[in-house]
Each structure stands twice: as structure tokens, then as C-alpha cells.
């Protein structure tokens, strides 16, 4: 293994600049002449815009322009990226998503006007001076009520507020129903997957620029995928040709999904920059982030598990209402369907699976993919109902899972939910878990907790996810309107150092460290000589960005392919330099040599030669040493894992303390174990946050009650136990060149059911018959459940 190559736990090089305050985020950019945008946002959830009188605002000090929805009535709509068809074959309802609300406001925070002024304060002052009349309408908040009420409509021409009614796999519907009907045991569970606010540390920020000389636009913005944002703006919203629009996502302080999407503020600052001929900047306040960043999750689900009395699974049937909020955010229709329904077979050899998802419009912020995106919802439903089933049948929770696991010799395995899993070994993961979590010692720890008056419980979970999103041909069949390949250019500079331009975007994932490890490993050079360039559409090839644990599996594979091409070319140059045939040249440890001779040339000499081609046979070898690869995978990747956690519950107050959390994951090959451990730990923290703390609450009028950190609890260090992460159990991905699977979302997928299973276990061991508590398991919820048990 090359020191610093694949498998080395290199510290993240980018952390030096981040930890020393030298990162350069969007808001750190202030081009000369910048003016500032502020948005007028609805304080009611639903209303009809009667009039907006901007005269007074336009006369305020420093005000340069006022925009309203009318200014954008004729431009395009920010689209949903996936077309979903309902069970009856009709396409989903796709409302226009305008740059600024026009006609109606549809959620608290919906922007209906914007003011541009010399300073941010002046812009905010002028927003307050707008004279606005909005006629209040009843808010649609509760999903069941939204579906039942034909009159109260988020979108006027959609009675019943249903975006689609999707069945997966529709042909399995009757067989699954029959299997459940005939089954000796059926466990049913109703549960809520709680809505989450993403809460990246860096709020969204966008700067629009326009060059009147060239007609070029530039958007610097908090984006996880600049090319996707450019595509959406160019092809759908503003129609600016791609070759006239540069989108830059500089250092980005966390995304978790919320910065995948194109938001109206980006189109606004570009339009304003053109009108004013000046750079226009907008930086969200934390309050705006709470109200307008796309939220996550928000499913209300009923799941049934049918099995033999020995616990052999026969069928899983899921009925879910998925909240999409007031408008369709870009991935909102894919998340509850193809990122959720296709995973509903879990790690199990269950023969019948059917999933029905009704997506519902409400007068709330749009909901979209958030770390895990659909797969946490699937895992939570499934692993909670399995736990309940095991309890009902008196079977050990590990035993019931092992009994139904897909076995290593069954791959490739066609799951009953329509995916083909390429590799895995779930019993091996469970073995690792049992050892690392010292499950044999649990009873002793429980007795010790009991002496202190605490109820201790053990939660077990196993998950599978589909990531490395994704094969374009497969997602195309599933309704995606875009391709999901990625791209990399490896440019060897004349003195031998290397620039790698990648389509993936790093905002916490450590690409600047991990990607060089791949190239260094393949070329046998020092990783310190390799730099990653990302986030700027004028510099990088057209990749699709970072989400869905895809960066390494998809973009890393593109890096691998491009590096292979570089080696092919370099070998030709080396052969020319040594006057031999390329077939006779060996390449190892950064050196080209001819076996059986003393001929060799070093990597640096070949690089230099590529740019000083005085004697090249130009019809055979072009100058330069730079190659691009676009990589489109053949399948998703399928990371899997087994998790355990122990909790202590204070029966007097209902407080839950997570005292241990162990994650055993199979990510395939690991490029940088340190980064992988950090990714999993971050995911675990988010999952524990979802399970215990994070509570997004809209009241009946559609007001967001948990709209600040005073009321929305994020997990903090002292809420967390030591997070034990083990990724030693490896089955390689069979279809990408690195054999990698992706690790970014696993922790957030695997941990919520683990925690909830542990709490229910603790209560049961304490003699309290509580079947389920909805997340977050706040003290009041646990205490109330105890009173009712």
C-alpha cells in the first residue's frame, strides 16, 4: 500500500483552512459595488395576494429596485426533477414554482417581493415599508385532512391536494394482500417519521453578477452541485444559455441535502444583477433558514409485517403519506418513492413487498431529500415493525433478523422491492456488532443501571441502503429527468504535479483529501502533489454534484477512469522516450520501465515531455497529458450495516440517555478510514438528533413553532455517547472500479430505529407495555407513554 494512498487514514488537508478560519464561503465574497437583497416573506401560511404597493419602499434611502411576483410571471418554473406516475397511470400534479410568489402565498416564509438596496439594513427597512394586502385563507397543514378536504386547496386547481398516489410495485399489490390475508401472524405499526430542519451551519447565500460587456452571468452560491443548479436555471427558470452562466459553489458549510436544490433567491439575484448592472448579494438569516430551506422526512406511515409463527417473513406492506410542502422541490418526488419504496425489502428474503405512497401538498415549507433521503424512512418503518413483531412472537431481535437475512451465496439478489443487490454479508456484520457492542455483557450493565433507578434497554437494527446515485438508465426508467453520472478531468501539469477537476462538490466530505489518495495510489506519486478543483462550472467537467453518498462511488470512479486514461497516454510517451513499444513498458511506483532492460523514465520526466513535445510523432501522440472521464455506474451501490445502542431511561422524568452506540457497516473498500469514521459519526449524531431531539412543529394555522434554536433542539456533544464505528466487514461493490459503496448517509439511516428500539426495550424490561412512541422521544412523550402504559 502506498503511503498516503488508498486505505490510509490521512488527516483532512482542508481542515487546516476550515479550523483556522481561512475557509472562503459565499458570504466571504463581496465583489466591488455589491448591493444587497432582502425578501418580503409571508407571515401567514396561506393567503391571496390582493395588492403590493411598492411606491413608499422605492422612495426609501438606498433603495435601488423592488421586485414582485409580477416581474417573474413570464419566466419558467423551478421544476421537480422526477416525474412520478400515479397507480392509475396519470402523471403527478406539478404546480408552477415561481421565483417569487404570485397570486398566492403558500407557506410561512414564502417570498412575494424583494428589495435591492445599497445596504442590507436599508433593504430590510424597505421590505417593512411595502404596503401589502394579503387575504388570509385557511391553512392546509395536516396531511389526512388535506387529502379529505376537496375545497381547501394549496393549489387552486388541485382538489384534495394529492400530488400523486404511487404504488410500488403495483403488480405485487394483490399478491401481497393475499399473502398478508393468509399469514399466521401479522404485526401492524403506525408511525410518524418526524419532519426535520436541515440546519447547516452556513445559511444559504447567493451572489448574482452580470457583465454588461460580455453578457456573462455569474452566480456564487451555497450549492452542493453547481452544474445541476446551472442546468435548472438555464434550461427551466431563466433561460440563460449555459455558456453565459457560471455557477460557483465555493467553500460550503454543510448541506445535508438542503443545498442540492435550486431556490428562487438564486434566480432573483441574477435577474437583479442584470437589471442593476451590479453584483447583488443575499444572505439568509437563521430564521429564513428555518422557514425556507427544504425540510426533510415527514412521513405518516402504516406498515404491516406478515410472517410465519417462527418469524419467517412473508410480506411487508407500507402505506405512507409523504408531505411535500407547498411546492415541489427538485428531488421531492423521488425521495418518498424511488429512494424509499425500493428499499422496503430491507436485508431480507421476504417474497412479497408492496408500498403505497400518497404525496400531499400542505401550506408548509417544501420537503425534500435530507441526509439519507427516503432510506431512513424505509429503514425506520421496517426495523421498527420487525422489532415489534419479534416482541410479539417472543423471538430475539437479532435472531429474527438473522433468520431472514439474504445469504452471501444469493448475490446478485433480486429484492422483492425491485432492486438487484450486488453484494453483502449481513451475518458477518451482525457478528462484528455482537462483539464490538459486547452484547454478552448487556445483562450486567442493565442490572447496574437498575441499581441506580434507571431502565436500560438494548436496541438492534440492520439496514441496507441504495446509494452511489445512480445509474442513469435505471433512474431514467424510474422517472428521473436528469442523468446521474459524474465526471473528472485529471490534468498532469508540466512539472509533474496534478490538478483533478471533479464534478462532485465537497462541503464536509473531505474530497480534497480522499480523491488525491486514489490518483496517488494509481500513479505511485505523493498525494501532496495532487490538488482537487471543484465547485466551479467554468473549471470542472459537467458532473452532477454531491448527494446520495455518490461522490466516491460515482465521481471517485470517474477519477479512477480518467487516471487510467492518463496512464495509457503517459505510457505511450514513455515508450517514445525509451524508443520501445508501449506494450513493452511497465508502470509501477511512479516509474516507467522496460522489463529485462535498464531502461526507465520517471513520472516527472514523462509529464515534462508531454508539454515539450519537440520530437513527438504527432500523428500518434498528441501533446499534453490531460484526460476526462464520465462515469455512469451499472447499478446503485448497497452499503449495509448492523447497529446497536443502549439507552438509560429515567422512569421518573422520561429522560432518555443514549449510553452507547455501535455501528458496524459494510462500505466496500475504504479509501480513507478516518474520513469514513467521521462521516458515520456525523450521521449517527444526526440520527440520534432525529430520534430524541429534533421536533419540527407547525400549528393548525401553519405557523412554524419550532423556528429557532430556542425551540428546535439540535444534538450537541453532551447528548451523544462515544460513537463506536467499525467498517472492517467488507464486501466489495461488484460494478465500480474501486469496489466502494458510499458512507455519507449510513449513520443517519441506521441510528433512529436503533435508538427507538432501545427505548421500547428499556420500557419493556421495566415492565411497561409500550408498543411505540413517535420520534422525537422527548421526555414528555416518554413520560406520558409511561403514564398510559
Amino acid at each position: 500500500m502506498l503511503d498516503g494512498g488508498i486505505g490510509t487514514a490521512t488527516k483532512r488537508r482542508e481542515d487546516v483552512r476550515f479550523l483556522m478560519g481561512r475557509g472562503k464561503y459565499t458570504d466571504d465574497h463581496t465583489p466591488a459595488g455589491t448591493c444587497y437583497a432582502a425578501f418580503a416573506r409571508s407571515d401567514m401560511a396561506h393567503g391571496r395576494i390582493v395588492s403590493i404597493d411598492a411606491a413608499a419602499a422605492e422612495g426609501m434611502p438606498g433603495v435601488l429596485a423592488v421586485f414582485t411576483g409580477a416581474d417573474f410571471a413570464d419566466v419558467g418554473s423551478n421544476p421537480a426533477g422526477w416525474l412520478i406516475n400515479s397507480r392509475d397511470g396519470t402523471p403527478m400534479y406539478e404546480p408552477k414554482r415561481p421565483v417569487l410568489a404570485h397570486g398566492k402565498v403558500r407557506h410561512v416564509g414564502d417570498a412575494y417581493a424583494a428589495v435591492i438596496a445599497e445596504t442590507r439594513e436599508q433593504a430590510m427597512d424597505a421590505v417593512e415599508a411595502l404596503e401589502v394586502e394579503i387575504e388570509p385563507l385557511d391553512a392546509v397543514v395536516d396531511m389526512a385532512a388535506a387529502l379529505a378536504d376537496g375545497d381547501n386547496r394549496v393549489h387552486d386547481d388541485l382538489p384534495g391536494n394529492q400530488c400523486f398516489d404511487w404504488g410500488w410495485i403495483e403488480d405485487n399489490r394483490e399478491a401481497t394482500a393475499a399473502a398478508i390475508e393468509a399469514a399466521p401472524h401479522v404485526t401492524t405499526l403506525e408511525l410518524v417519521n418526524n419532519r426535520l430542519v436541515p440546519n447547516a451551519i452556513e445559511p444559504r447565500c447567493s451572489i448574482g453578477e452580470y457583465d454588461p460587456g460580455t453578457g456573462d452571468y455569474k452566480l456564487t452560491t451555497t450549492s452542493q452541485n453547481p452544474h445541476l443548479t446551472r442546468l435548472l436555471i438555464s434550461a427551466f427558470v431563466l433561460g440563460i444559455p449555459e455558456n453565459k452562466l457560471t455557477v460557483i459553489g465555493p467553500d460550503v458549510g454543510g448541506g445535508f441535502g438542503s443545498k442540492i436544490y435550486h431556490y428562487g433567491e438564486e434566480a432573483l439575484v441574477l435577474s437583479a444583477a442584470k437589471r442593476l448592472g451590479r453584483p447583488v448579494k443575499w444572505t439568509a438569516t437563521r430564521s429564513e433558514a428555518f422557514l425556507t430551506d427544504a425540510h426533510g422526512r415527514d412521513h405518516v406511515t402504516r406498515i404491516e409485517l406478515a410472517c410465519e409463527t417462527d418469524g419467517t417473513f412473508i410480506a411487508f406492506r407500507t402505506e405512507t403519506m409523504a408531505n411535500v410542502g407547498a411546492y415541489l422541490s427538485n428531488f421531492s418526488t423521488a425521495t418518498p418513492t424511488f429512494l424509499h419504496g425500493t428499499l422496503m425489502a430491507g436485508n431480507y428474503t421476504v417474497p412479497n413487498v408492496y408500498v403505497n405512497v400518497k404525496a400531499v401538498f400542505t401550506n408548509t415549507a417544501p420537503v425534500d431529500a435530507y441526509r439519507g433521503a427516503g432510506r431512513p424512512e424505509a429503514t425506520y418503518s421496517l426495523e421498527r415493525v420487525i422489532d415489534k413483531c419479534a416482541r410479539e412472537l417472543g423471538i430475539d431481535p437479532i435472531a429474527i433478523r438473522r433468520k431472514n437475512f439474504i445469504q452471501p451465496d444469493q448475490y446478485p439478489y433480486a429484492s422483492a422491492a425491485g432492486l438487484e443487490y450486488d453484494s453483502g454479508n449481513y451475518d458477518a456484520l451482525m457478528d462484528v456488532l455482537e462483539r464490538r457492542a459486547d452484547l454478552a455483557g448487556f445483562e450486567g450493565r442493565r442490572a447496574e443501571s437498575e441499581r441506580r433507578g434507571k431502565l436500560r434497554g438494548l436496541g438492534i437494527n440492520s439496514y441496507i441502503e441504495a446509494c452511489g446515485i445512480a445509474p442513469s438508465n435505471l433512474v431514467g426508467q424510474l422517472g428521473s429527468r436528469v442523468g446521474l453520472y459524474d465526471a473528472a478531468t485529471v490534468r498532469v501539469n508540466a512539472t509533474g504535479n496534478i490538478s483533478v477537476m471533479v464534478g462532485a462538490h465537497s462541503h464536509g466530505q473531505g474530497h480534497e483529501t480522499a480523491f488525491p489518495q486514489i490518483v496517488a495510489d494509481m500513479l505511485g506519486v505523493d498525494p501532496a502533489t495532487i490538488e482537487i478543483v471543484h465547485g466551479d462550472t467554468s473549471k470542472i467537467p459537467f458532473g452532477m454534484g454531491t448527494y446520495g453518498s455518490r461522490s466516491l462511488a460515482v465521481c471517485g470512479s470517474a477519477v479512477h477512469r480518467a487516471t487510467e486514461k492518463v496512464i495509457v497516454k503517459a505510457r505511450k510517451i514513455a515508450a517514445h522516450m525509451m524508443s520501445v513499444s508501449a506494450d513493452d513498458v511497465d508502470f509501477a511506483d511512479g516509474q516507467f520501465s522496460v522489463p529485462g532492460t535498464n531502461k526507465f523514465v520517471a513520472w516527472g520526466d514523462v509529464a515534462l515531455k508531454a508539454y515539450i513535445p519537440h520530437d513527438f510523432p504527432l500523428e500518434e501522440i498528441e501533446p499534453g497529458l490531460e484526460e476526462t472521464a464520465f462515469y455512469d455506474p451499472a447499478n446503485f451501490t448497497y452499503p449495509s450495516g448492523a447497529y446497536a445502542c443502549e439507552v438509560e431511561v429515567d422512569p421518573e422524568t422520561g429522560v432518555v440517555d443514549v449510553v452507547s452506540m455501535v455501528a458496524a457497516d459494510d462500505f466496500g473498500n475504504v479509501v480513507n478510514p478516518l474520513i469514513v469514521t467521521g462521516q458515520v459519526q456525523g450521521g449517527l449524531a444526526q440520527g440520534i438528533g432525529q430520534a430524541l431531539l429534533e421536533q419540527t412543529t407547525y400549528d393548525a394555522d401553519g405557523q412554524l413553532l419550532s423556528a429557532s434554536y430556542m425551540d428546535y433542539a439540535m444534538p450537541r456533544a453532551d447528548d451523544l455517547p462515544t460513537l463506536v464505528v467499525d467498517h472492517s466487514s467488507v464486501t466489495e461493490c461488484t460494478h465500480n472500479p474501486l469496489g466502494v459503496k458510499g458512507c455519507g448517509e449510513a449513520g443517519a439511516i441506521g441510528s433512529p430505529p436503533t435508538v427507538v428500539n432501545a427505548v421500547i426495550d428499556a420500557l419493556a424490561r421495566g415492565g411497561h407495555d409500550v408498543a411505540h412512541i413517535d420520534m422525537p422521544l422527548t421526555p414528555v412523550r416518554v413520560w406520558t407513554a409511561l403514564q398510559q402504559a
Binding site: E121, E652, T653, S706, Y709, P779
Partner: protein
């Protein structure tokens, strides 16, 4: 934030005068007031900083009291009362985070009288006296319900005199987001009896739980509280707790406060 003028007086008299002009507001640590300004929830003409005013942050001990300047920060109180009054020291040391404790002040907290704040329970349970530029106010008379106090417009808290208890403890059940008190109970034993004050729980703001005080005055032990509950009717109900849960927590936290005193 809206624009405002900034006054930075060096003496109490200058501060009082500045607060008397127009729509002026005092600024202590700014941990409550600055977020309100930033969210444009307040629009004073003038902000009068108390930071430079002489003599407002001293902590003085007598035989049985502590006199704490209004501008003493939580961090300083935590540090300097640890020997004399550990219950107070621990209370101060558990407010917010280090940044909040380094700026937030006792006077600011009492003047604000947030229904979930910690010091009001301490002030009421110790029978503290709040000194202002104009008068002395007994804690009993000072708190007037959520965010309401006996302070007149422009009146400045200068110091607080706290009788040191023979035994005391503040038990705080944190609201998981803000980490203010969802329910906090300060229980204190004095030669003439026990006092118990509860913050975070009641829609009327901080209050004394007299039934608990009666029982604890006889016998300052947790078991003296056996069977004692409080009615949920006047409790706060919000995102974080129901009325019955808050009422239940009042008993549990009171018992734990006595156990740890």
C-alpha cells in the same frame, strides 16, 4: 437591527439621565437584548450601556449575605460564590454556554424575568433584596408574572443582596433546545424555615411553592415531600411539555433539590 444612538455613561447618575431621555433602553450583557434587536423586535432610540458604570459588578460578602453587583456576569458569580454559596455558584455555572456566561449578568436576567430563567428562582427562594438607583425591592414584590417586574421605566438594578442559606440546591430540568429551565426548583433551608421557588413551570412566572415549604420547614428531607403534588391547571403548556408533565416535574425537581442540598 434598526439604527439607534449609543450612550456609554461612566456613572449611575449619567446612566439614569440617559435612560430618561426619549425611548431609551439599558444594555447589560446583551445576551437577551441583542438577539431581540437583531430580529428587529425592539426599536429603541438610544441604548444605554451599563458596562462602564462604576461599582456595578462588585461581589461583597458579609456574615450572612452576599451583595452582588447587577453587572456581575454569570461566569464571575460562578467563580466567586463557590465557597460561600455553592448552590448559587452552580446555578450561575449552568446558565447557557461559556460565551453567554462571560457576558450575561445577574441584573439583566432579573430585569428581564424570563419565565424560564434561573436566577428568579434563586432570588425568591433566598428572599433576596433587589437594589435599584431609586429603592430596595424585596424579591417577593419584584416579580410580577412573565417578563414583568416592579421596575419603573428607566429604573436600574444596581445590586442584589442574597441571604446565604444553611443548605440549598437548585435543580434544573433543561428544555432540550434552549437549555433554559423547563422546570427549575431552588430549595433553601434557613434558621427560620425552608423556602422553595419554582421557575419555568407556571404561566404566572416564578412562584413559591408554599405547601412544600411547610413540609420542609418541619423536616428538610426529601421524604417530607412524599405524596405532595401540585395542580397542573396554572402550568405552562407548550411544544416541550404538557401541564401534567410540568406539574409532575415540579414535585420531582423539588425532591431532588432537597436531596442534593
Amino acid at each position: 437591527m434598526y439604527d439607534f444612538d449609543f450612550a456609554n455613561p461612566a456613572t449611575l447618575d449619567e446612566a439614569v439621565a440617559a435612560l430618561g431621555r426619549g425611548d431609551a433602553q439599558a444594555l447589560a450583557g446583551g445576551q437577551t437584548y441583542l438577539p431581540a434587536l437583531r430580529q428587529r423586535l425592539a426599536a429603541p432610540d438610544t441604548i444605554v450601556s451599563l458596562k462602564r458604570v462604576e461599582g456595578l459588578s462588585d461581589i461583597e460578602a458579609t456574615v450572612d449575605t452576599l451583595r452582588i453587583g447587577a453587572m456581575a456576569t454569570h461566569a464571575r458569580i460562578a467563580r466567586e460564590t463557590a465557597d460561600r454559596f455553592p448552590a448559587l455558584s452552580r446555578l450561575a455555572g449552568n446558565i447557557g454556554d461559556m460565551a453567554v456566561r462571560s457576558r450575561g449578568t445577574l441584573g439583566g436576567s432579573l430585569a428581564n424575568n424570563d419565565p424560564s430563567a434561573c436566577y428568579p428562582a434563586m432570588a425568591l427562594a433566598t428572599g433576596a433584596t433587589i437594589h435599584t438607583n431609586a429603592r430596595d425591592i424585596a424579591a417577593e414584590d419584584f416579580f410580577r408574572g412573565m417578563f414583568e417586574t416592579a421596575l419603573d421605566d428607566g429604573e436600574i438594578i444596581t445590586a442584589v443582596t442574597v441571604p446565604v442559606a444553611q443548605a440549598a440546591h437548585y435543580e434544573k430540568f433543561v428544555q432540550r433546545a434552549s437549555r433554559f429551565a423547563l422546570v427549575g426548583v431552588f430549595a433553601a433551608r434557613y434558621p427560620d424555615g425552608a423556602r422553595v421557588a419554582v421557575t419555568g413551570a407556571s404561566s404566572g412566572g416564578v412562584f413559591r411553592w408554599t405547601e412544600a415549604e411547610e413540609r420542609l420547614s418541619d423536616r428538610f428531607e426529601a421524604s417530607a415531600l412524599d405524596g405532595l403534588t401540585i395542580a397542573p391547571d396554572d402550568m405552562i403548556e407548550d411544544l416541550h411539555a404538557t401541564k401534567p408533565y410540568r406539574a409532575h416535574l415540579v414535585s420531582v425537581m423539588t425532591r431532588r433539590a432537597v436531596e442534593h442540598a
